[in-house]
């Protein structure tokens, strides 16, 4: 039986691995130390479980029990071959008996939650079938393992005439039952012997059945989750997977993106096998909350169903042309275009499943195939022809700085460093910022990106930041009309070729100027410069710049005490994707008198406002806009003012204020605006400086 069961298990696993063997490469054998650490902390340590209190604790208990009892299970099998093999001493016997009690209790809670509590996340809006029967079956199998072992031990206790006492509560309980039955029914020793033997075989049979069952459904994760954690992505989540791990030259690629299962890397398919169907990803997904077609969990489930169907355990692999298209049929295009790449799903997943790379890879295929939402064609064409999605004239990109310059010269101010530019006329400069011509030098480059350069509302945040820079006496320049869009969103919408062209132009413009740091007020640009461009100079977000200046005492902020309550909204590409949660909060804390509260979904669990740049041209069909849902959260926290640090959060949330009729009682501001507003009047500061 053992041999048969193990052979079955190995055979099933081998069949399952067939797809992984046919898959594209995933380079995941590096940094083994860090991988081991993750395996211990996130895998064995279950560190991501307690984010959902009850479910997490229940899982930790069952998982812990599983570890303790796996020894028992193995030795019980050994017992079949040599008597006494399972006897590991009374210490382990007690531990494992208590563990059995705990696991039974945890299973009872889990079953209760499945059947009675039924948390919303257990059932996905887009799911065709419920996985509750499978979950209950597994719980029942686990319980029967516990009970069979207890019956085995309990009958032994009676047979040997011993008592387990409190050291072995479960076995003792059954021993007591057996004893009682024996006395009243006058049952014979042989019957007890039969029970003893039956319990032994039942335990072993159930165990082997359980093992063979695992790779057939969502409980594959029992086997694959630990390797999945070990092989998880080590790079920052904001760093996208390149179109190919084998060919660096994008133009030389034969196929781009993922159009069939085999185009995914083997690790991405291991993801698909490992999904526990817990629903935490979708529970955190803004697109799911907004009621779009997207539910990240369903991406995994549907891909797994496709994998099982097309790589069947018995019979031949179904060739790609005979399958429903992975992209477009199995996974709908509406699902793919609804993702904001916010990363909340990945942050929530207990087994480190990756989604953003998969979504982008499938979009790459769609773009290559010409299938793009119609609303995105114009902005993409404008990016190509004019370097910004709005179709504005490239030569006007630096005009906001000229506007500042005009204002500044009217006030008699000059930007720091403006007199350093060679030649007759000083370069156009305004407040703390000037436009750098090729060959010019500044200490810091301000990468504005398209939104701050062209959107009148966001220009105001750029002006506010320029005011702060002036206060700091910083020597800051922009690329002016030589800057083009960072291409961050173009890349995430799957238009890799366009991204590469934009990056080339920006890198060239940067090469022509000298500076030692880069600062940007757009987290998407920050992420692009850090992770898509691989710029070696330090790249700062404006919140980091301001926090530094506050800490060093350069910025002296007056109090804001308007009786309103503020809350900080973490932009996905600043927080989750670049790990900066503190700087903005330090700034808020440094403004005297400002009252601020946290929303429930803050920091790593922040809820995306609706997405950046091109997302503004691509509003997926939904029940409620993400921005409106976010405002509900701010209102629930008791805030009237939402402070953010990203141009697109500002635009999305301001729109949401209008569409949800909150004009009267809510407001959104950028950190820079808040800080500029709380600074001592600029002219006074300048005068006192020069005095």
């Amino acid at each position: 039986m053992l041999a048969l069961a193990l052979a079955t298990l190995v055979w099933v696993l081998w069949q399952r691995l067939a797809l992984l063997r046919a898959a594209a490469p995933s380079p995941r054998w590096d940094h083994l130390g860090e991988r081991l650490r993750r395996l211990l902390v996130i895998g064995f340590g279950q560190s991501r479980q307690p984010r959902y209190r009850v479910a997490g604790i229940v899982h930790i208990l069952i998982f812990g029990g599983f570890l303790v009892l796996s020894l028992r299970s193995m030795t019980l099998i050994g017992e079949a071959f040599s008597a006494g093999y399972a006897d590991l001493g009374s210490g382990y016997a007690a531990v494992k008996d208590w563990t059995g009690v705990v696991v039974l209790g945890a299973c009872a809670v889990a079953a209760w939650r499945r059947v009675v509590v039924r948390p919303a996340r257990y059932h996905d809006r887009h799911a065709r079938s419920s996985h509750t029967p499978e979950a209950l079956l597994i719980l029942a199998l686990i319980c029967s393992l516990m009970l069979a072992d207890a019956a085995y031990e309990g009958s032994a206790l009676v047979l040997e005439g011993k008592g387990g006492g409190w050291r072995m509560p479960l076995a003792s309980l059954l021993a007591w039952v057996f004893g009682a039955v024996q006395q009243t029914g006058g049952a014979e020793q042989p019957l007890l012997g039969g029970i003893h033997l039956a319990a032994f075989w039942i335990h072993n049979a159930v165990l082997l059945f359980f093992l063979c069952l695992l790779p057939l459904g969502k409980h594959f994760h029992v086997l694959s989750a630990l390797p999945n954690v070990f092989f998880s992505k080590l790079e920052p989540s904001g760093k996208l997977k390149p179109p190919s791990h084998l060919e660096a030259d994008f133009d030389a690629l034969e196929v781009v993106g993922v159009s069939k299962l085999e185009d995914l890397g083997w690790k991405e398919l291991l993801d698909v096998y490992s999904c526990t169907d817990c629903g935490r990803c979708s529970d955190h997904c803004p697109a799911y909350a907004a009621g779009t077609a997207l539910s990240p969990r369903m991406l995994s489930i549907k891909m797994r169903e496709a994998a099982y169907a097309h790589y069947p355990l018995r019979g031949k692999v179904v060739p790609p042309e005979q399958r429903p298209a992975l992209v477009g049929e199995t996974i709908g295009t509406a699902e793919l275009w609804a993702c904001t790449t916010c990363g909340a799903c990945e942050e929530a997943c207990p087994v480190m499943i990756e989604y953003v790379d998969k979504v982008v890879d499938m979009r790459r295929h769609l773009v290559d195939d010409g299938r793009l939402p119609a609303s995105l064609q114009k902005p993409l064409a404008a990016l190509e022809k004019r370097g910004n999605p709005y179709g504005k004239m490239a030569r006007k990109r630096g005009d906001w700085v000229d506007g500042l310059a005009a204002e500044a010269s009217a006030n008699g101010n000059r930007a720091v460093g403006s007199d350093r530019s060679e030649g007759g006329d000083p370069a156009p400069c305004g407040k703390g910022v000037r436009i750098l011509a090729p060959g010019d030098t500044a200490e810091v480059l301000y990468f504005t990106d398209s939104c701050a350069a062209f959107d009148p509302r966001i220009q105001r945040t750029a002006v506010a930041f320029a005011e702060i820079l002036l206060h700091c006496g910083a020597d800051v320049g922009t690329l002016g009309k030589d800057e083009v869009d960072s291409g961050h969103e173009a890349r995430r919408f799957g238009e890799e070729g366009l991204f590469l062209a934009l990056r080339e132009q920006n890198l060239l413009a940067m090469e022509q100027r000298k500076f030692s740091r880069i600062v940007t007020s757009d987290p998407h640009a920050l992420n692009a410069l850090r992770h898509d461009y691989g710029v070696e100079l330090p790249v700062l977000h404006h919140s980091q710049w301001i926090a530094e200046s506050v800490a060093s005492g350069e910025l002296n902020m007056q109090g804001i005490d308007d009786g309103r309550t503020y809350t900080y909204h973490d932009p996905c590409y600043l927080g989750r994707h670049n790990g900066e949660y503190q700087a903005p909060r330090q700034i808020l804390a440094a403004i005297p008198g400002l009252r601020s509260v946290e929303m429930e979904r803050c920091a790593g669990r922040s809820f995306c406002c609706g997405g950046g740049s091109l997302s503004l041209f691509n509003e997926p069909e939904c029940e409620r806009r993400m921005g409106e849902i976010r405002l509900d959260m701010a209102a629930a926290a008791g805030a009237q003012v939402v402070v953010t640090a990203c141009p697109f959060c500002l635009i999305n949330l301001e729109d949401a204020i209008k569409t949800s009729g909150r004009d009267e009682h809510m407001e959104v501001v950028d950190l820079a605006e808040l800080v500029a507003q709380s600074l001592a009047p600029q002219s006074a500061a300048m005068e006192s400086e020069s005095a």
């Binding site: 994008f250 133009d251 781009v256 773009v367 290559d368 195939d369 010409g370 299938r371 793009l372 119609a374 995105l376 064609q377 993409l380 064409a381 404008a382 190509e384 022809k385 004019r386 709005y390 179709g391 504005k392 004239m393 030569r395 238009e495 890799e496 070729g497 366009l498 590469l500 062209a501």
Partner: protein, 268 residues
């Protein structure tokens, strides 16, 4: 099902400041972004979709300067099979008739079932070339198509097309037209596919047939400005008329002012 699509490269003047060249003979082009005429993009998509359904060869054809090759490459990237560039300095200054004559000369002698044009071009907006082509080639014409299907089976000549098209008074009608025919395509007839940068690069090496006036068998006197019977006298921005008023200020101020004015003058 062989199809020829005539496409034109035009300037996108949105967001650009319109500056008339001195002498009123043209516009300052520095700020313009160039690309395929919007209607022609739909025509190319329609042609490629028909090819995908019925097979055959789609040829994209443009008359224009060297830079205009760009739109042919784009059409190839969308799925056209061949590209023909009518390029000759002598074509400069042609009127719509001259353009149509050159196109007709290039079309003659090719095998085709359908000749597609955009309904109008986004720059001069004459809407003439398609019609002239039909006349010059003695073919039936259906203008402003919003839906286009061809009868299958016959292959080659002899088939028919069913075309839904716009007619006056906001009506639409469906007609059946014998092939070969000229159909001019309205925007919205389909959803043109996206052309990625990579898609364009992939066809960078594809052959484009270049034909000059001589190759088309046209005489110098028929070409370009020499042959044009419609000549540009002057290009100008219409002067602001009497009573016209441009409101200035923020959006809110403008709207408020507009509402006031409409109230005052009885518009509301």
């Amino acid at each position: 099902m062989n199809i020829i699509v005539c496409i034109k490269r035009v300037a996108d003047t949105s967001e650009a400041e319109i500056v008339i060249q001195r002498g009123g003979q043209g516009l300052e082009e520095e700020d313009f972004a160039w690309g395929i005429n919007e209607w022609d993009n739909f025509a190319v998509e329609a042609a490629v979709q028909l090819k995908e359904q019925h097979g055959g060869v789609v040829t994209a054809m443009t008359l224009g300067g060297e830079d205009d090759e760009e739109v042919l490459r784009r059409a190839l990237a969308m799925g056209c099979d061949e590209a023909v560039h009518l390029c000759d300095e002598a074509f400069a200054g042609a009127d719509a008739w001259g353009i149509a004559k050159a196109l007709a000369a290039a079309v003659r002698g090719r095998s085709y079932d359908l000749l597609l044009c955009g309904a109008v071009s986004g720059d001069a907006g004459g809407g003439q070339v398609g019609g002239f082509l039909a006349g010059l080639l003695d073919l039936p014409l259906v203008a402003l198509a919003t839906c286009l299907e061809v009868g299958s089976g016959n292959g080659g000549t002899g088939g028919v097309a069913r075309v839904r098209h716009e007619v006056e008074s906001g009506l639409e009608r469906v007609v059946e037209v014998d092939l070969p025919a000229v159909v001019t395509v309205q925007t919205g007839i389909n959803e043109p596919r996206y052309v990625s940068i990579r898609g364009i690069r992939k066809v960078a090496g594809a052959e484009v047939q270049v034909l000059d006036g001589a190759a088309l068998g046209l005489q110098a006197a028929e070409l370009g400005s020499a042959g044009a019977r419609v000549r540009l006298e002057e290009l100008f921005l219409p002067p602001r008329g009497e009573g016209a008023e441009v409101l200035e200020g923020s959006d809110e101020e403008i709207v408020q002012r507009l509402v006031e004015m409409l109230h005052q003058r009885g518009g509301l």
